[in-house]
């Protein structure tokens, strides 16, 4: 019963609390039949709502009246100065809520973060971490380089990838995914690696998670990593 009453009063008080910021209503049901006592969140202002049975919700209009009456009690207790300060705060909050979309608020936060000097950002990663990661990455790229410059992926006629694509030239990995007109479907880089394996290379296509496929992808992608995309140039 107590819980139900509290929920009811909070429900009507919610718009007010949002505006009042530091002055949310606090409910304090008495459990008496036919009347519910409510109190403001300042802990001192109280008021009894007659005719409200426990478990019953106030209609929206009457709830707003109740909230307004509560705030008038608070105004009489605290004086005009406190009331004006609170009203100003409420108005500013209303303006911000009306003018700021969640997306704009997020963007503003991101911009503020980006504007702060990078050098001052603490990092939890040590030089050793970075060294280890670079070493692991290099392993994959080196393995891919070996495959790319050989027929170890199963080529049967001696042709290796570098024979047509020195230094990964014209593999343009950064342009995938894209509609590959010759295949009549959207292709990923691995689809074209497999196409080259099967056609000029006369080998069997690799499974998508084959370590050789992953290594060759790693090498090809590494040749263009971080380079701006210039379609047709590489």
């Amino acid at each position: 019963m107590r819980i139900t009453t509290r929920r009811t009063i909070l429900g009507l008080a919610a718009p007010l609390c949002l505006m009042a910021l530091a002055l949310p209503l606090r409910s304090d049901g008495t459990g008496k039949a036919g009347a519910v006592e409510v109190s403001l969140c300042d802990g001192t202002s109280t008021m009894t709502i007659e005719g409200l049975k426990p478990g019953e919700a106030l209609p929206r209009e009457r709830a707003q009246q109740t909230a307004d009456q509560m705030m008038q009690i608070w105004r009489q207790t605290k004086g005009e100065e406190a009331w004006v300060a609170w009203s100003d705060e409420r108005d500013q909050a209303l303006v911000r809520i009306a003018s700021t979309s969640p997306e704009a608020a997020l963007a503003a936060a991101a911009a503020a973060q980006a504007a702060s000097p990078v050098a001052d950002q603490p990092t939890k990663f040590s030089a050793r971490d970075k060294m280890l990661w670079a070493r692991e990455e290099k392993k994959w790229i080196d393995e891919g380089y070996k495959l790319y410059h050989s027929t170890a992926w199963g080529g049967t006629i001696g042709i290796s990838c570098d024979m047509c694509h020195p230094d990964g030239a014209n593999t343009h990995p950064e342009t995938y995914p894209k509609y590959q007109s010759q295949l009549k479907k959207v292709a990923l880089l691995r689809d074209m690696i497999n196409w080259c394996i099967e056609n000029p290379g006369k080998g069997k296509p690799l499974a998508e998670n084959d370590p050789m496929m992953r290594a060759m992808e790693a090498y090809i992608l590494s040749t263009r990593k971080g380079v701006p995309m210039e379609p047709g140039k590489h």
């Binding site: 006629i157 570098d162 020195p166 196409w195 080259c196 056609n199």
Partner: protein, 368 residues
């Protein structure tokens, strides 16, 4: 979706609209296509070199023509027939030329890994060429046995000859400093290292002191007004060192050619359309029969118009052969005979005018 017949009508209208606006080059294309159509009826010999003559009073008269086949990169047949199909296609092309070219230049890299079987096979295949063949060596022919097998089949790798008033020089421009003895590389390892275009541990190609001395002596006997045409496997200029689209002593060779009124260099190795002019020297690249290389990421000569990127789904696209029309004054018109595209001619006038006349078709579909 448009009805098929309506689409056909649209295409037909576009075609006729285009015919009304033909320039000389497009006319040549259309005429070549028309000639091919005639040939298909059996009235003419059908081949890629269908001669189409158009009136061109300003251009000097053609003196003679030679053809080229280059960069075949043959493996032994039991391993790989693809590149054999390609060189045979090129031989069909040059054998079908009417009239026949005075000779056919083979531009180097006959073999892929310099193996005796590859060279023997290449020599056998080239016997099918009807016109006389002039051989040039490439690094893929050379570095398994330092040219021993190649010389056994084809003789000297450096020589000169005179033909119809033009002095021709054939160089071995793929000499590199010894980087294999110290680390005790086997001949096979050396060959593989040299065959890898993007080998980060490679060395730059040179003509070298000995050959430049020979060239100086050879050219001393030639009058400055005699046109000189040089064949080299690598381009005799500096474009992109990491792939050896580069000759390290290029400037010294160019200096030997500078006294001549007309000097032209025809080179292989780059497998693409390339044009350049340095001083009085015109440079032209040759197509490969085996595969096209991508353009180097830097150093492309200003006068080069890039050929369209090759379609990997067409094994002949970006590949081909070609012929060279030597004009009266010794300058040349260089013809790129693409197997899956329209042929392109880079004229002497285009290079002489620094690319202001006889313009080339621009690269298109760069995003393709």
């Amino acid at each position: 979706m448009k009805d098929r017949f309506l689409r056909y009508l649209d295409e037909r209208d576009a075609y006729f609209a285009k015919i009304l606006k033909l320039d000389r080059r497009d006319f040549l294309k259309a005429a070549t296509m028309a000639a091919a159509g005639v040939a298909a009826t059996g009235k003419l010999n059908n081949h890629s070199f269908q001669p189409v003559e158009v009136a061109n009073a300003a251009a000097p008269e053609k003196s003679f023509t030679f053809a080229y086949i280059s960069d075949a990169h043959l493996y032994e047949k039991k391993l790989n027939e693809r590149f054999i199909r390609s060189i045979l296609k090129a031989i069909d092309d040059v054998n079908a030329m009417t009239p026949q070219p005075d000779f056919v230049l083979f531009g180097g890299d006959l073999a892929q890994l310099g193996k005796p079987g590859e060279l023997a096979e290449g020599a056998e295949i080239l016997k099918a060429v009807k016109a006389p063949v002039k051989m040039m060596v490439g690094e893929h022919d050379w570095y398994l046995d330092m040219g021993e097998g190649w010389r056994k089949h084809f003789g000297k790798d450096t020589y000169s000859f005179d033909h119809k008033g033009v002095h021709f020089v054939v160089l071995n421009s793929v000499i590199v400093e010894d980087y294999w003895t110290a680390p005790k590389m086997t001949p096979e390892e050396r060959m593989l290292a040299m065959a890898q275009l993007d080998n980060p541990n490679g060395r730059p190609f040179t003509v070298g002191d000995a050959q430049r001395d020979w060239l100086r002596g050879d050219l001393a006997k030639v009058k400055p007004e005699t046109p000189v045409i040089v064949f080299s496997h690598s381009p005799l200029y500096k474009m992109y060192k990491p792939w050896n689209f580069w000759t390290d002593d290029a400037e010294q060779v160019q200096a030997l050619l500078a006294p001549f009124k007309s000097a032209t260099v025809i080179h292989g190795h780059t497998h693409q359309m390339l044009s350049n002019k340095i001083g009085n020297i015109h440079f032209h690249g040759m197509l490969s029969t085996a595969w096209p290389w991508p353009y180097a990421p830097q150093g492309l000569p200003k006068l080069t118009v890039r050929m369209n990127r090759a379609d990997p789904f067409d094994e002949f696209d970006g590949c081909g052969d070609g012929h060279i029309d030597v004009l009266g004054g010794g300058r040349v018109n260089k013809n790129f005979n693409f197997w899956s595209r329209n042929p392109i001619r880079v004229s002497a006038a285009y290079l002489d005018s620094d690319g202001t006349v006889d313009l080339l078709p621009r690269e298109s579909d760069v995003n393709y």
